[in-house]
Point group: C2
Chain length 100, copies 2
């Protein structure tokens, strides 16, 4: 993954918010009946409602974040759950410290 693409993924207010909300799903989202926040993350619909943008936009934003290794996705039934990708986030932090 190229540095520029990572920074582009972060160059949007809504995407930064999503990343932030996912730090504390239980505080930022209503309970999910069928899945544990800590294990699988938060489903697209909840993120969409919180963000207040269209379903298609949020779906695309999530895939931009995923391509940048900032979040990861798990499909369970008809839901896709997203959570922070700690490995990618740590790599980013290292990259900033060493290469920037």
């Amino acid at each position: 993954m190229d540095q520029v693409e990572i920074f582009k993924a972060l160059s949007n207010k809504t995407r930064l918010q999503i990343l932030n909300w996912l730090k504390a799903p239980a505080e930022n989202f209503p309970d999910q009946p069928n899945a544990d926040f800590e294990n699988v993350g938060v489903c697209v619909g909840q993120i969409q409602m919180k963000a207040g943008l269209s379903q298609s936009t949020i779906s695309e934003y999530l895939s931009i974040l995923q391509r940048a290794d900032l979040v990861s996705a798990t499909r369970v039934g008809q839901w896709t759950y997203y959570k922070r990708n700690m490995e990618g986030l740590e790599k980013l932090s290292e990259m900033i410290n060493t290469e920037l």
Copy 2:
């Protein structure tokens, strides 16, 4: 300075390169007769030649980086010298670690 603007400033290959070149001016640029790299930085013309883009583009890129507090500028006579803004860079690193 808003987070989004900082990431936008970093969302461009040439601007990332400039930031990198400025880490070691003596290695990346030919000697400047009238100014010390370490004190004031590198003048726009040298950065422009190295980047191979137009003068106007580089001038704008440098001001984008400056608005994001990633570089600082010093005017000396007819030259403007740019160097890395360590304070801003460190703040960015902190911000990534705490808020992202």
